[in-house]
Amino acid sequence: MNILSQGEGALFSDPSADRARQFFVEKPRALTDKVMTVTEAVHRFIHDDDYFASGGFGCARIPTAVLHEILRQGPKRLSFAGHTATHDFQILCAGNGLGRGPTLAAVDIAYIVGLEARGLSAHARRVMESGEVACTEWTNYTLAVRFKAAAMGVPFLPARSMLGTDTFRHSAARVVACPFTGEKVALLPALYPDVAAIHVHEADRYGNCRIRGTTVADLDLARAARRLIITCERLIPGDDIRQDPSRTVIPFFCVDAVCEVPFGSYPGNMPYEYFSDEDHLRQWLAAEKDVTTFGAFLETHIYGVGDFADYLQRCGGLSRLQELRRHEFLLHRGM
């Protein structure tokens, strides 16, 4: 194809649809029990130097338990899809620049280092300003389109975004003219993560999943990923899934591990379940300002913690989670 212009950014993953097929032809597709612990799932399915992607929207419906476990298991040197990445990215950055890891080696950037209105992460900034993490620029939509291309099983998809900007110049996209209309489009290379983690409301033991509320890019991400770890608020019987198959949004054959993690998006928001813990997120942001303080904070909240339930306990346990449920349903506002 006749390329009109081309970004200078590096590709951190292989967009080949044929090589993805060669992987997927071997991927098990039987309805088998995939329930395991987060520790086992991260150990078995997230390997050093993998390309990793994480679901949800930064502080909403994020697989926090998987992100913590990645840090606890030590060096992974991951490439990461920085798509609407806020607290999730903040957690992964904690594995860089503090004498452990590095957890992160490269990032496809759409949104990083910020927590929206909450401000910027001081530590994520330190990590990203150090130059130790390779970067390529994208946007929230174009990264979503790259997942969609992989989910469709094609090596690229077009979009009308990024054109004419430095964001494009530092991406790996290419501009062509549509052969039917002459309209210029940016071609986005398919992004097949080696592994992804997504937190959902309900899943059965085989990995059939239900999500309530916005799905962000997760339905495409689930299909794009070579390996997929699902954490869920609740395991439900397979028969419940079959009672209403219209509610399934991720089919079992995309899934490698199913981990039941109640309150698994904490301190993030889980729609219809519990609101985000803004106090805890403020503590993170504050602790990051000083490296020593942050090291101690991580020891208390991640490295010195047995598992996610232990972390929840240290953050106020059930009574705090009850408050967050009341906040989600606005009961504290008299609704």
Binding site: F57, N140, R160
Partner: protein, 258 residues
Amino acid sequence: MSTPYNAMELMICCAARLLEDGRTAAVGTGVPCAAAMLAQRTHAPHLVMLFEAGGIAPQLPTMPISVGDSRSFHRAVMATSMADIMETCQRGLVDYTFLGGAQIDPYGNLNSTLIGGDYVHPKVRLPGSGGANDLASLCWRIFVVTNHDRRRFVEKLDFLTTPGYLTGPGAREQAGLPPGTGPYRVITDLAVMSYDDETKRMQVHSLHPGVTLAQVRAATGFELGVREPLAVTEPPTPGELRILREEVDPHRYVIGRC
């Protein structure tokens, strides 16, 4: 005599008045959300809000903290995917979007990626585009609401994250962006700026009450034209302020910021 108001309240009112009834707006948290909510409660009851994470036409019980949190689709008519929202913009069904940035240039291009240094070792690494580049490429009219100072209003961006008019007339079309789209208004604590139809450069559209053109130019790092006759911004009406303070932002999350 008019009710006292602060700059944030004025900016929100200016933005709200520019949102026509029956239109669609891709909004973020804070000012855009407040402006859309105010517009819905005044002249634009049929204004439709969309949130980039997937919320369509929510009935906001309170200001969302995140464009992806559960408030962003509270009693919405649909909770969908980010791609569905962005593709609704790409199809041409979304009229307005609100953006911000660390830097803005005379053509309304925005930088939210980095300040200083080079790409590999920036002095300050910022979040990047997020959905800003997408929304600025695909929605019809781009609004920017921001504080007005020389560090922000610069002749040359450190990084062009999000497209305004790029290098000027015809540049968006040349780059392949959909025809008829582009920056529309910049609303600051000092004035409202629009863009010259010929040059596509930012120009002062109206000065806020008590603000002089000299003050605005002093706070701007590039040559700023004037749309004649230069108007004075209508101050918020008592009615607008009451709705803003009592219904839209009773906890002063946004209007309390200055």
